[in-house]
């Protein structure tokens, strides 16, 4: 029972991690909280839905929706953040403008799709065979979702660590002005950061939709705030921390069900986050000094 729940937690956690990685990447590089991340997550799920209705196979729909989400991320930056960056607007104002973009995205989605819940009708999700491994049971869909999330995070880790783009992103995150002085194209690097972060958030949206075979306008609501808890657990701006934080959240959520605490699950989660913020604001794995005003 507990082993099965931990496995479920692992599957759940992978998607949380994927969402949180993009959330924290934007914060790490730009020091802004992007409250439109969850809206892009939802938009990508609907994009994949439309593509699959048009006959596109699900794996291709996933990739295409992630790319669409990435492009939305670049647009989000141009509209909501770039003008504010140019005038050094602090942390509060970008937060609000990202809320504005989230409202617009949500309204457009509602205009296009209405308020009904949607399902993937193609791809044979409902007939996917279950796999039995000893006492554990899972579906091929769950396994594929898990492996896709892990693969995407490995790609991100490789990009950040071993490519020239990754070095530029890290340099801008450390010191924007110094990076610009060294000849790094600031705006291009920020655009790339938004593309990566939003594409991953979008992929998380599609995978979440596949996992529950459900796409709704408000599917981004819970993960938006839980994602905050995850990036705090991991240390704001720490990509590795966000991955670990996502898995911790997945485990906590499924174990709460085992211990009959599912009604109090979110209170426990946010309670832990609150205590951690107060006692150790750099998170479990973060190293940066974060208390600076």
């Amino acid at each position: 029972m507990i082993a099965q729940q931990l496995l479920n937690g692992l599957f759940l956690g992978a998607v949380y991690s994927l969402f949180a990685v993009g959330y924290t990447l934007v914060f790490g590089v730009l020091d802004i909280l992007n409250l439109a991340h969850a809206a892009i997550f939802t938009a990508a799920a609907f994009t994949a839905f439309s593509l699959s209705m048009a006959g596109v196979p699900l794996p291709l729909a996933l990739i295409a929706a992630a790319i669409v989400a990435g492009i939305m991320g670049i647009l989000l930056d141009r509209v909501a953040f770039a003008p504010l960056r140019a005038r050094n607007a602090g942390t509060l104002v970008p937060l609000i403008s990202s809320i504005g973009v989230a409202i617009v995205i949500g309204a457009v989605l509602r205009g296009i799709y209405g308020i009904d819940e949607r399902h993937f009708t193609t791809g044979g999700l409902d007939t996917a065979p279950a796999i039995h491994a000893g006492p554990l049971t899972f579906t091929i869909v769950e396994l594929t979702i898990f492996l896709s999330a892990i693969a995407l995070m490995l790609v991100l880790s490789w990009v950040l660590r071993s490519t020239s783009l990754g070095r530029r992103i890290r340099a801008v995150g450390q010191d924007r002005i110094a990076a610009a002085l060294l000849g790094i194209n600031l705006e291009a690097t920020v655009a790339a950061t938004f593309f990566i972060a939003s594409a991953l958030g979008g992929a998380a949206g599609v995978l979440t939709a596949l996992r529950y075979d459900s796409i709704t306008l408000d599917m981004g609501g819970p993960i938006e705030l839980k994602g905050l808890a995850v990036i705090i657990l991991g240390g704001m701006g720490s990509v590795t921390g966000a991955v670990i934080g996502g898995f911790i959240l997945g485990a906590v959520e499924t174990l709460a069900v085992v211990f009959g605490l599912s009604a109090w699950r979110d209170a426990i989660l946010f309670g832990v986050m609150f205590v951690l913020l107060v006692a150790r604001p750099t998170g479990l794995f973060g190293k940066r000094a974060l208390r600076a005003a």
């Binding site: 509602r110 209170a267 005003a293």
Partner: protein, 280 residues
């Protein structure tokens, strides 16, 4: 006169909402003015709404007593919250207080006395328009008087430069705690009025979506002045009604207005009629 009465009869609910929203915006502007991005206003509002509703429903207390008790409870909670978060700034304070709000919402969702997810209904509908606007006037007058005191100077100093504030002997921790508690009291007042102006309350009324709305009112109106907060709350409460004819495109328009103000009027609506020279 009768035209005026007709107008009131038609829009009394909206008019009451605007009054409550303006008080909420004022409550957030108090902590924003001390430079604290504390996003627990919806939670303070919810705590007070439940306290006053429970006192009215179970103990049959009169309206003024439930409002006063609710505002005191929410300001004490706010002061208690201020202590652990005293070391947090900026986005970290925002996230910690958002987390606090979620905890309050989950608790309201699970307790028997709060009616769980279905909330409480049958709250006496005795927060009339004069009560609401009377409260708004008292809050506005109190904040105006406060703005002429040394306390307001200290608040401004803490916002602009904490180190300088410490240097001239301002107790930064106390200022932050007081401003959060004052904001909590005002939000509590609004929450109690909200409960007594609605037929029922549910935990979802006081979640992050409500908090986002309050924050947006303040920022659109102009963060650094109470007048801006009231202006923002009023404008954005009327806007959805005024553009009802846009039907499905209404929400898109809402978002665009918000973005437009942020991008083109950095000081909020309140800054539009100040001299242009103020702008950088």
């Amino acid at each position: 006169m009768s035209a005026l009465l007709d107008f009131y009869a038609k829009h009394s609910r909206l008019i009451d909402q605007i009054g409550v929203n303006a008080i909420l915006a004022l409550s957030l502007s108090v902590s924003l003015q001390a430079g604290q991005l504390a996003l627990a206003q919806a939670a303070f509002m919810g705590i007070a709404a439940y306290v006053s509703a429970i006192l009215a429903l179970n103990a049959h207390w009169p309206l003024p007593a439930t409002i006063l008790t609710a505002a005191i409870v929410s300001s004490v909670v706010a002061a208690l919250l201020a202590y652990p978060v005293r070391g947090l700034r900026g986005v970290f304070l925002a996230i910690a207080t958002i987390g606090f709000g979620e905890i309050v919402r989950v608790i309201a969702n699970n307790l028997a006395i709060t009616g769980g997810a279905e909330g409480l209904s049958g709250i006496p509908n005795d927060a009339t328009t004069p009560v609401i606007y009377g409260s708004l006037a008292i809050v506005a007058a109190a904040l105006f008087v406060l703005s002429r005191t040394k306390f307001a100077l200290a608040v401004a100093l803490v916002r602009e430069d904490e180190h300088a504030a410490r240097g001239v002997g301002v107790d930064v921790g106390a200022i932050r705690t007081y401003s959060l508690a004052l904001g909590g009291a005002i939000a509590g007042l609004a929450g109690a009025l909200y409960a007594h102006a609605s037929f029922f309350i549910t935990p979802a009324d006081f979640g992050f979506a409500e908090m986002e709305k309050i924050l947006v009112w303040c920022v659109v109106g102009g963060v650094t002045s109470p007048a801006g907060a009231v202006l923002g709350a009023t404008t954005l409460s009327i806007l959805p009604e005024a553009i009802r004819f846009l039907a499905d495109y209404r929400e898109i328009f809402n978002g665009i207005i918000l973005l437009g103000v942020i991008l083109f009027a950095p000081g909020g609506l309140a800054s539009l009629w100040r001299r242009r020279a103020v702008r950088p």
